[in-house]
């Protein structure tokens, strides 16, 4: 059994949630569907850990779907980078689902709950698929699965606030434009090279750097992905989507979907095109770096003036995405390490913050900053978790945020960019303001007269919340694991184009003579 699982681990990572999704719908009962979704998420988490361990021990794994050799068939390719992102996605889902049970019961009408878990598991399938596949077109297919599921998930917040419908619709339009740009770009690359396998693309694109169509393809893919990851200034869909989505969806999306988009962007920039590719260096220094710096300041400043906690967090996310983009736009090992570490760290801290928002919605029914008044006494554990998450967002030492910023500043100093290093610190000071606003209301403003007493969030919410809060602290004190993985990834991406020989899973080759007739479905 174990041998079977290990042999097919890359496929099972996606197949298990894909099987679970329709069964969730067939179950029809919210509670049963929740149970199945939880089991699925835990299994996915276990598999992603096994994959990460296997990759660290034996190097990249290649799994041939349908037994077709790459570059002809679809290849699932796992290396340290995507194994790490798989762990982030699967771990978030496994932590969000225990939290979801009560939150979803309160926020989604009973007849839609089974449907919600179905779509949630589909979204998980899509995100895992995008991350694991080594085929550029397969990325698009899974991107669409996860995006379509996400639009539905966001719109399901309509019961709490009707504006979720327009938020979901805007996201649908923007997301579809992003996906279309990605496919157009991919079409141009396919036309130039005749292949869709990423490793094969990387080899064949090397001599084609001067081709205008390939450069246009690069631009289309980058803009499409930048839309998906809500890079400033095309982040407009994100604040509404995160604000009006059901709490559970905000947690899950904030921690995973933008991270997966960053991963795909890195994969294309450094593995498929490669750092030597003519336009890559140019776009990093003239487009990505300035936009990242502006995002850090503008989005943080906008966050300061928000009156809604979730919207504040959403703008903070745009700023934090700026840090990730800043990291890789330095194109140095330290900078890329910062991006990889921040992928993990930001997932943890934002998940904590949005879980706090979810718990407050559950108990108070609102996420307005004003409604936090007096919660410091009434929900001490929730607010303490909020403080931990907030300190991480600022980047205070002994939290994960410090580690990310430490590597970012190191990267900036390496290249002698004192101004950038200064800006990283300065933008963190803006984070102090918006975090302090919440802390002030929660701890120093007394609860309004005559307000109903609020009790602490239930344990099923506190346990996942505090697990993540402890992650924020633990990996802030001992960052060896995240930093070493980040560094391995960064070195692989910058040296040797990220292409390293994969260990192919041995295949049983059946004696066939004319088995080549299968038409693609």
């Amino acid at each position: 059994m174990m041998e079977f699982v290990m042999l097919h681990l890359p496929a099972l990572q996606v197949v298990v949630p894909m099987l679970a999704a329709p069964i969730c719908l067939l179950l029809m009962r919210g509670g049963l569907a929740w149970m199945l979704a939880l089991v699925t998420a835990v299994l996915c988490f276990a598999m992603s850990l096994l994959l990460l361990q296997q990759v660290i021990e034996t190097g990249p794994i290649s799994y041939h779907l349908g037994g077709w050799e790459p570059p002809f068939g679809i290849e699932y390719r796992v290396d340290a980078m995507n194994a790490f992102v798989l762990v982030i996605v699967a771990a978030t889902s496994a932590l969000v689902l225990p939290f979801a049970r009560r939150s979803i019961r309160a926020e989604i009408e009973p007849s839609k709950q089974a449907l919600f878990y179905t779509v949630f598991v589909l979204c998980l399938t899509g995100l895992l698929g995008v991350t694991i596949t080594g085929d550029a077109f397969n990325v698009f297919v899974f991107l669409e699965i996860s995006s379509l599921a996400t639009y539905v998930l966001v719109a399901m917040g309509a019961r709490r606030d009707r504006r979720a419908l327009t938020a979901g619709y805007t996201y649908l339009v923007m997301g579809t434009i992003g996906a279309t740009f990605y496919v157009i770009g991919l079409g141009l690359l396919y036309q130039a090279t005749g292949t869709l396998n990423m490793e094969d693309l990387a080899v064949r694109l090397q001599p084609l750097g001067d081709l205008t169509s390939v450069r246009a393809g690069f631009a289309f893919i980058m803009v499409g992905l930048a839309l998906k990851l809500a890079m400033f200034p095309i982040h407009a869909w994100l604040p509404n989507a995160y604000t009006y989505a059901p709490s559970v969806v905000s947690i899950f999306l904030a921690a995973t979907s933008t991270k997966v988009a960053v991963y795909v962007l890195l994969r294309f920039m450094f593995t498929v095109f490669g750092y030597d590719f003519p336009v890559v260096e140019l776009s990093l220094s003239t487009v990505f770096l300035p936009l990242a710096v502006i995002a850090m300041f503008v989005a943080s400043a906008v966050a300061v003036f928000q009156t809604d906690f979730k919207r504040l967090l959403a703008y903070s996310s745009v700023a934090q995405i700026g840090y990730m983009v800043l990291g890789f736009s330095m194109a140095s090992v330290t900078g890329l390490t910062a991006t990889m570490v921040h992928l993990f760290n930001h997932a943890a801290m934002k998940a904590v913050m949005f879980m706090v928002a979810g718990a407050v919605v559950y108990r108070v029914g609102s996420t307005a900053v004003a409604s936090f008044a007096g919660l410091g006494r009434q929900m001490p554990w929730t607010m303490a978790a909020m403080v931990v998450g907030g300190l991480s967002l600022i980047g205070v030492p002994l939290t994960v945020g410090f580690i990310s910023k430490w590597y970012l500043i190191l990267g900036a100093l390496e290249t002698g960019d004192w101004i950038i290093a200064f800006m990283i610190v300065a933008s963190s000071l803006i984070a102090v303001i918006y975090v302090w606003r919440i802390v002030e209301v929660a701890y120093l403003t007394p609860a309004p007269e005559g307000a109903k007493p609020v009790s602490e969030a239930p344990l099923s919410m506190l346990i996942p919340m505090w697990t993540l809060a402890l992650v924020c602290i633990y990996f802030g004190i001992n960052a060896e694991l995240t930093a070493s993985i980040g560094q391995t990834v960064a070195e692989a991406l910058l040296n040797g184009n990220g292409v390293s020989p994969a260990v192919a899973i041995p295949e049983v080759v059946p004696a066939t003579d004319g088995a080549m007739e299968g038409a693609a479905p």
Partner: protein
Amino acid sequence: MNQHIILRVITKILIAPIILFGLYVQFHGDFGAGGGFQAGVIIAVGFILHALIFGLSTTQQVMPMWVVRTAACFGVLIYTGVGVYTMLNGGNFLDYDFVSHDPVGYAVAGQHLGILLIEAGVGLTVAAVMVLVFYGFADAAGLFGTERD
């Protein structure tokens, strides 16, 4: 639509050939253009035409919401199920060579059977989802008591 006897009669005559043509496209996918996606849409058209002429509530007596939804799920399950079956038989995911038990000499048969099953799953899901989408839009106001969820 009760007074439009021509439309009603023509529709009754047309629905069977539409579904038959859908099945033709489905199985023609083995040899050339065709396959589950196109066939699914054509088959769904049969039901949509029925609903346009005879009304949504009549169609939902023939094809209730729960049947359509279950069909949509089973299509995906068939697709993934074939993949899991090939893995259990010793191949990679969706390696049709392993659809038949003994790979030696049966691989060609396996490839045929594998793609047939996969396309059946695709056709089922596409047809069901098309009908679901139509039900959703046609009854957006909830007038026909479509089960809303």
